[in-house]
């Protein structure tokens, strides 16, 4: 087989590629400089100079697990996420499953930045959920700033086993956090997990199926949906930082509310998404379905 000469060059076409390279090189350099200077990488792009008052981004050494966004932390009891409690995360719709996982990992990253977050993490996944969007991918976790080597993965077939494994992980009392994915967990199960969390002073994050509406004994309960983000800082065509709409539907001792946040992989911090840049404020057309035309409609 002969390979055409031009296919050997990785990006065989014009300007966007150059832009792409430049962006990658710049990000890389900034990261290196930041690492040498021992500070978190900063971005000087005007679009992200948001009205929200800046809170220290990585609270290394501080035991406080929080968003670093005043508006959200203010709604939580004591202005922080409970290190000794269960937190529920539910996707808003089927397609928001990955966003919920992204949010969950963002919280984990915030936790690992605190002084309490140096240990291993137990991730219990339901094999069915893993088949839906695929299994956790190490390089992707690393890109998010989470060391995959610190993760112990449990893959089992039933919710019951996931919950058992989570409880067992909590009882070990040496983990940074325990994360589980279930389709549903009843009140008793969430109560058991909450108690185990309190006993061992280990936080747990429970990812629930979007249709699961059972009551829960969790400290906080979040609904997460993906929101269209702005373009990348360096390439107007590329996707930028992920944005999620967060709804705090239940919070003991706090105020429920909803926010649009933007997550920054590089620095590991949240920001409130600027209202103007948020296009979801405009009424959204219903999602276009395939097989929408009558000639393509299928039964089932």
């Amino acid at each position: 087989m002969t390979i055409p000469l031009d296919s050997l060059s990785p990006f065989p076409h014009g300007p966007p590629v150059k832009l792409f390279w430049r962006r990658a090189a710049l990000t890389d350099l900034r990261r290196k400089v930041a690492a040498i200077e021992g500070r978190p990488p900063q971005y000087d792009n005007v679009r992200h100079a948001l009205p929200d008052k800046a809170v220290p981004i990585t609270e290394a050494g501080s035991p406080i697990w929080r968003f670093g966004v005043e508006a959200i932390d203010g709604a939580l009891p004591d202005g922080r996420l409970a290190n000794t409690g269960l937190h529920d995360i539910t996707a808003d719709a089927y397609g928001d499953g990955p966003a919920a996982v992204g949010f969950c990992l963002a919280l984990l990253r915030r936790l690992q930045a605190t002084s309490a977050g140096t240990g291993a993490v137990l991730w219990c996944e339901n094999a069915q959920a893993a088949r839906e969007f695929g299994g956790l991918y190490g390089p992707g976790l690393a890109a998010l700033g989470i060391d995959p080597a610190r993760l112990v993965l449990v893959t089992v077939g039933r919710d019951k086993e996931v919950l058992w494994a989570m409880e067992e992980g909590l009882r070990a009392a040496t983990l940074t956090a325990v994360i589980g994915e279930v389709t549903t967990a009843d009140f008793t199960a969430s109560r058991r997990l909450s108690l185990a969390c309190a006993d061992s002073a280990t936080p747990a994050l429970l990812l629930r199926h979007h249709r699961d509406t059972t009551t829960s004994a969790a400290r906080t309960r979040w609904r997460v949906a993906a929101r269209p983000g702005v373009a990348d800082d360096w390439d107007a065509r590329a996707p930028g930082r992920p944005r999620w709409s967060l709804e705090l539907t239940r919070c003991r001792g706090g105020r429920p509310g909803s926010w649009h946040v933007e997550w920054n992989d590089a620095t590991g911090d949240f920001r409130l998404a600027a209202p103007l840049a948020d296009r979801t404020a405009a009424p959204q057309p219903a999602p276009v379905r395939a097989w929408g035309g009558p000639h393509l409609r299928r039964a089932g």
């Binding site: 996982v101 983990l175 590329a238």
Partner: protein
């Protein structure tokens, strides 16, 4: 149809093994006959060999109707050799077996005494005297040799012993035949070694507890297990070893043996840890009418050097130990293959870039990927239908799982060439992939790729689009 086996009273009335059934019926019209089931017999014999594990770990089957037990170093637990033999015969009788024990210094002598002797135990000092009156068949000879010896007038072992060896050998047709007889004779006398293998490998460490009263409850069993674990772990510590797998054997009153086993990812000798692993299984064990003897064996043992106790609870090693113990507990309940760690793999093909390895293995360091990588990767890339395809650029719209998604932002391509060294001799050639990171109008992010090149369409077929993963 012929007689396969007889009980004592049938034998006393003159029946013999191998006799035709019709002849036997003619002699004794009301003879009770059962169909022989040699397979079931073999199974029962094996179960009985396992049951004898209560006396010694070294047990094996001998032919169709015998058992070997090497009781070296075990007899004192039962009040000496006579006590052990008594106990064995009594328990076997309770189970409904008639046993003919034979105990001697060599397997050959034990065999002879058990099959042909009168008193079950040969005194080591006069083993020769014990064997002398026994028939030559007792030496495990083949029938031809035994017949020849009898024709020569050598009906018992005594005269055989007195005969000069060279003379004896000359009487046989071939030197091999003579040599075989001498070998058997030497083995019985302990002049030649006879290596035998046990049914199960001998565990290096065991702890055994005989119970005065049968244990009937799970709580009682737990107490028994605690004592066994403490004893075993002490032995392991003395030998600087750690166990990787343990089996608890519960010898029940009814002759059954119930077993539960646990496995550990790394050698351990912490009784509390082992106890927690056993805890769940212990509830599932069927105690029947009670357990009279319990045995704990360390089946797989590895060196484990003593370590300094951590000064702080936050010590990294202590925390690693705790993780190992957690992994063991999860693995024992859920199965070892369900507990994994992610490990980087040297490959730029996305699906080969990570491996799931056993969780007890030390994890390698992950490098920060220089290119965007998805949070979840589908095991099998799913084909998508791309609308408004523009060559060499990301799609404007695509259909995945029957839902159309309009692309607002796209990043790429990142070209990943197949690993040519894997392609040699493969019938289906992998194609070049161009990966794009795209975001749809709902803000969901996907990792798509196009397989194949438009320029190479003639050679390797039309390019195809796939969805390989999702971003958070």
């Amino acid at each position: 149809m012929r007689l396969y086996a007889l009980n004592r009273s049938a034998a006393e009335q003159g029946l013999a093994v191998g006799q035709a059934l019709t002849d036997a019926r003619a002699l004794i019209p009301d003879l009770t006959v059962h169909q022989a089931e040699s397979e079931a017999d073999a199974k029962a014999l094996k179960a009985l060999a396992d049951w004898c594990g209560r006396y010694t770990p070294w047990t094996n089957i001998d032919g169709d109707d015998g058992l070997w037990l090497d009781i070296t170093g075990c007899a004192h637990l039962f009040g000496g050799e006579a006590g052990l033999v008594d106990d064995l015969v009594r328990r076997l009788r309770k189970l409904g077996f008639t046993a003919r024990p034979g105990l001697a210094d060599t397997p050959g002598a034990a065999w002879a005494i058990s099959r042909h002797g009168n008193s079950p135990i040969a005194n080591p000092a006069d083993q020769d005297e014990a064997l002398a009156p026994l028939p030559v068949e007792a030496l495990r000879l083949d029938p031809d040799s035994a017949l020849l010896l009898q024709r020569l007038g050598l009906k018992t072992i005594g005269p055989l012993l007195d005969l000069p060896r060279a003379t004896l050998e000359r009487r046989f047709r071939s030197p091999e035949e003579g040599e075989a007889v001498l070998t058997r004779l030497d083995q019985a006398m302990g002049r030649r070694d006879e290596p035998l293998s046990p049914l199960h490998p001998i565990p290096a460490f065991t702890a055994r507890l005989a119970l005065a009263e049968p244990v009937l409850t799970a709580e009682g069993m737990e107490a028994v297990q605690d004592r066994l674990l403490a004893r075993l772990c002490r032995d392991l510590a003395e030998a600087q070893k750690g166990a990787r797998s343990l089996t608890l054997h519960a010898y029940r009153v009814d002759g059954e043996v119930a077993r539960i086993a646990i496995a550990m990812g790394r050698p351990a000798r912490d009784p509390r840890h082992m106890k927690r692993l056993f805890q769940e299984r212990l509830e599932t064990i069927d105690l029947g009418f009670g357990v009279e003897t319990a045995l704990l064996t360390a089946d797989l043992v590895e060196p484990l050097l003593p370590r300094q106790i951590a000064l702080q609870a936050s010590d990294r090693r202590a925390s690693n130990d705790a993780i190992d113990q957690l992994v063991d507990r999860l693995a024992n309940r859920l199965g070892e293959p369900h507990i994994r760690r992610l490990q980087p793999n040297e490959s730029h093909i996305p699906e080969r870039a990570q491996r799931r390895v056993p969780a007890t293995r030390d994890s390698a360091d992950w490098a920060d990927p220089s290119r965007p990588r998805p949070l979840r990767l589908l095991d099998r890339p799913e084909p998508i239908e791309v609308i408004a395809e523009v060559p060499e650029s990301p799609p404007k719209q695509f259909i995945w799982r029957r839902v159309a998604r309009r692309v607002l932002h796209a990043d790429g391509p990142e070209r990943i060439e197949p690993e040519w060294w894997r392609q040699v001799g493969q019938p289906v050639q992998e194609r070049v992939r161009d990966y794009y990171r795209v975001e749809d109008r709902e803000g969901r992010r996907y990792w798509l790729y196009r397989e194949g090149l438009y320029q190479a369409e003639g050679q390797s077929g039309k390019p195809a689009w796939f969805l390989h993963g999702v971003f958070g």
